[in-house]
Symmetry: C3
Subunit: 472 residues, 3 copies
């Protein structure tokens, strides 16, 4: 990356064994400056569209990053004291006092990737090389605040500085893509693209499901109360999203099954869904059939299908009621792919046009299911370590458990999947360092030669993601 390194030790995260470290470093040097491909994430398109300064350090780092505030909450700090918004009335504290509360408790992040990302950002972006703590909280806050006013720290400038070649945001089916429209007018689509995530009109457990489908029908001019019309509405909407650069879809159900029902069964389910009469099991079947339809549409239009499954969303009822979703209390659950993917794979698995990327929060599926599945089916790829596992040890476990069965070329490269814009360079950097480590160990143990390792490192950092997501 073309960003400064501050006091970040150039050998950070590399193996402590000198011979391995040397090779890690050599491999890393061949890939560290590759552009960033960020084909899946949750940055806000408004940032790039408006390109206004970020308001202040607290708003930049703490309040959008549930990694931070969930951990502070776990140590007994009230979310109100961190300015985490309520759905009803808010009474925000002074941003600087919140920052000090954050810094006072910073030690609880020792050993976590949040600490790596944060210190990377401080140093590489803001040239702040002190250890963050209560003692220098004020100084650090002021330094950041000053820089944020500078034009070089606006969102688009940072994109360039981070050497981002392309970044995907994620929008719901009913989103009007207003910010992407502006980006298109400015000819920035291609660098900033959307992703089609239709969970807002495919999850019958959501409140107002009927209203959502109705709206979906209106914007696509389809009768979405019939199954066929609903599928056609997706067909139309996917096309609309592709106009704003989308090359992929994303699906984030908690439960995970795939179904292959006949037309009558499908319509019956939809009718029940519209009347709010699905049992819990039927709701799962509904979603299982939705995944089948989405795969079918991907076979048609070539959009890459991403499946993020296995998270018990909005686990804390009180939090959900007070502050809404995506507030740090989604908890992983056991996930099963072998049985649950069988129907989909037996229907569409041999299609040359289909690519499905599977993400998991259940690491037991790495060696047991994902690697053996991806090592056979040409339509399947394994997504990079997701969420809590996007970390040095998480990446080590991922590569250790997957590569021997699936090889390197059934992986998907890396994606950062983050709302925390400033963590993007660091997340990609951690991935590249751990890939270098893993390959260096292969070299030191005479399993690969270093030239091949360099090629694989480059492919895992850049080439595979670019090709897989059709970003050429």
């Amino acid at each position: 990356m073309t960003i400064g390194n501050g006091n970040l030790n150039p050998d950070r995260l590399f193996s402590s064994d000198p011979s391995t470290r040397k090779i890690s470093r050599e491999i890393y040097q061949t890939i560290e400056n590759l552009p960033i491909i960020s084909p899946h994430g949750h940055t806000d398109p408004l940032w790039f569209s408006n390109n206004k300064p970020f308001p202040n350090p607290t708003n930049l780092f703490l309040t959008p990053d549930h990694y931070f505030f969930r951990m502070l909450h776990s140590q007994g700090i009230n979310l109100d004291d961190l300015n985490i918004p309520r759905l009803d009335n808010n009474n925000f504290l002074a941003e600087k006092s919140v920052w000090k509360k954050f810094m006072e408790n910073y030690y609880i992040f020792f050993g976590t990737p949040s600490d790596i990302w944060f210190r990377h950002s401080l140093s590489a972006v803001f040239d702040i090389n002190e250890e963050p703590n209560l003692g220098n909280a004020d100084i650090i806050y002021d330094k950041i605040q000053t820089k944020l006013q500078n034009i070089n720290f606006r969102p688009r400038a940072l994109l360039d500085r981070f050497n981002v070649e392309v970044i995907a945001t994620t929008e719901m089916a009913l989103d009007d893509l207003v910010y992407h429209k502006k980006l298109k007018d400015e000819d920035m689509i291609g660098k900033i693209i959307s992703t089609y995530r239709p969970d807002d009109v495919t999850d019958p457990d959501l409140s107002d499901f009927e209203k959502r489908l109705e709206e979906f029908g209106l914007i696509t001019n389809e009768n979405t109360f019939t199954w066929k019309g609903m599928v056609n509405a997706h067909r139309i909407r996917r096309k609309f999203f592709r106009e704003y650069g989308a090359t992929a879809t994303d699906h984030g159900f908690s439960s995970f099954i795939t179904e292959d029902l006949n037309e009558n069964e499908r319509q019956t389910l939809l009718d029940k869904a519209l009347n709010n009469k699905l049992t819990k099991e039927e709701s799962a079947i509904f979603k299982g059939q939705i995944l089948m339809e989405m795969a079918g549409l991907s076979v048609e239009d070539g959009m890459v299908m991403q499946i993020h499954t296995g998270s018990y969303r909005n686990y804390d009822n009180q939090l959900m009621i007070e502050r809404g979703p995506n507030m740090g209390c989604d908890i992983p659950i056991c996930t099963e792919f072998t049985n649950n993917l069988n129907k989909l794979l037996n229907r569409y698995g041999h299609s040359r046009n289909l690519k499905i990327i599977l993400f998991t929060l259940d690491e037991t599926t790495y060696s047991r299911e994902l690697a053996p599945l991806a090592g056979y089916w040409q339509c399947l790829r394994i997504g990079p370590p997701w969420w809590f596992y996007d970390s040095p040890n998480g990446i080590k476990r991922f590569l250790n458990q997957i590569v021997e069965t699936a090889g390197f070329y059934n992986l998907s490269g890396f994606n950062d999947d983050t709302r925390a814009f400033l963590s993007i360079p660091s997340r990609h950097d951690v991935w590249r360092r751990e890939v270098s480590n893993f390959l260096a160990q292969m070299v030191v143990e005479y399993r690969m030669n270093q030239n091949d390792a360099n090629k694989v490192a480059s492919d895992l950092s850049y080439g595979i993601a670019k090709k897989l997501y059709n970003l050429n």
Copy 2:
């Protein structure tokens, strides 16, 4: 610890990489002499109350330690030949001949933590630095036997020598705490404390459940045949245990769910339980509601709630019939926390007065459930590696899979959870060495500075446990 080191290499268990080993050693040196906090375990209060000499080496090391005799059994050695008591008639062999059988087969413990603990005890406690085997079985036996007669090898002297600041035993609800009463008279409560483990009156699958509840009612003067009376009896009994130093409760059901039933449903379950009419499912629901009540009582009285779940107890019917429970054939099963804790967390999870420590025998829950849960809920802490995982590699896997998500401060420090008194210093020593290793690697890879690592090491070895269990 202030115990001798014999031929125990001072660098044992440290990483083989020289730079990491150096830092492991430096970190370890800052914590090795911290007092032992042992807030959960199964030593016999009679030892400390009576303070009589341990009878002989076989009785001291082999017969109370199912780690040893289960493994000997797995290699075809009959438990009768190891003097493992039968419930009916016993025909014990000479203790020394049993010891020789043990030593003859000692090689089967290579690679196990039992070997580490045993050799640590031989060297550090008895100054025996030979490798144990059949050839020196007699000599070792005699050396130990001689020392055991010495007043410095009595239980209380050993507690001091081990630098134990506080040790908790575990007693059932119906236990009269007679040994703790004597300890109280001698003003030793505070150093030796009880723990309230009410499984004897909360598990409807136990024989004589009705009789147990009746007795529970008698000693608390409550009508324990009503749900409300039963809960009140616990309230009273917990207070009684607190007079003997108890700051924590412990719950050890095989199955694990939590329930939130209404008053009628609870009473109906209790009525069925008293009439021995619970189905297997209803029995699980009963226990799930018990856990909810216990959490409610902890919110009231501040006792820390420990949950040890996921062991199929008394798996070998023949063993159970011949020799009773806790004889080495409890086998782990799959465990699920995310769904099963949801009801309890949604009822009491935001209470400032509640602390729940979760222990697991299913390591897949470390990264998938326990770390994400404890990284959000302030009432949850993750207990140290339990049972088979209280070992060097077990601790490595635990820290590797948990810390990046939960940090260090949602752990519980260490507890030894043992019946094998002499293994206590070694178990804490292994924990401290592995913590030092883990932190040293963080330092060597530039993830933490060494000062911070020292602080964390001390907190994990002493401070966190002391504070969490309210042992100040």
Copy 3:
């Protein structure tokens, strides 16, 4: 092994830490030349019986090895282009052009054990020390092809060169063992032995189940339509297999339960099976009872019982229809041993004559179930890492998660379980190197002395398997 080493680095796979590597090497040197015991595998007895030259490199390496062609398939290469036989009409390509397709895509095997095995074979067997790729595909093909004509490269010569002391093939109950008969006539039974795998007559889900049982009755002269007659037929057939050296049985159901039904229940199940009327659940119960019967027969005749469970066989319907079973699309599923073995263990678990070796494709069972079970029950042993886990990292995870609980002596040593004849020396070599690594780390961390480590290494590489499988 007494085979040449070519350019295979003598330190390959050893730890990169110099002090550990030195000890790994020293331990390995004490075991590298031990004979190969291969007590479970799938080589073709025809090879050894006829002892004809292997036809060509493609036929030798690629087409029998689903590890290779499944991965090529995952990268979009059609199985027809790899000469993988169809059940109906085949239109085979020139073998050399297939070989070039293989070599062109060889890079996808980087990081996999297939790469290790293949390069080991090239170097050690054919003295080819180049990196395989498209550039030298022709040359390598021709070199191998030439050597295959040499008498020293015939199957029996290779067995000797690989230093194979004994190798077991696997035959179905209805197999007539015609190749083993010829081997017996030539007095080669003892070196090449059969294994009794009765899945062809014990799986009621197979087509023609009734016909199979009928044939089974004919060759044993039993009424196999009664449960008792069926069991007796197995008794007779096992004896027949033992005449051809078999010391073990093998059972490979996808599902895994054990049952203990009464006589009426068994016969009812069999009647339903013969009439094709078993539900899916009843079919699982049927197989669960079969396992119980097989354990009972092992108690009688002392044959070692191997259970390979947890693979969803023939997962891709199209593949199964076009090309039949064992074509690379069997996918692991979650497996449970604790509950599912309980009935069998409580019936036969204390029998001195019973040995059951458990294999798993669900690594979560290593520490949670297999190690605790094998560390208590004398009849249980844990099989080596199976299938996808027969790899350097797979072996590391296996030893890491099992040894501390089960010790070394509840393992089964190694078996290669392969159809790929030439991979056998390499697979055993990888095991021996990883065992040396694991023990070297124990030595370097002062957990074992090197003499003991040498003994354990030898036992894990040779002694335990020989004794456990009664191959003395």
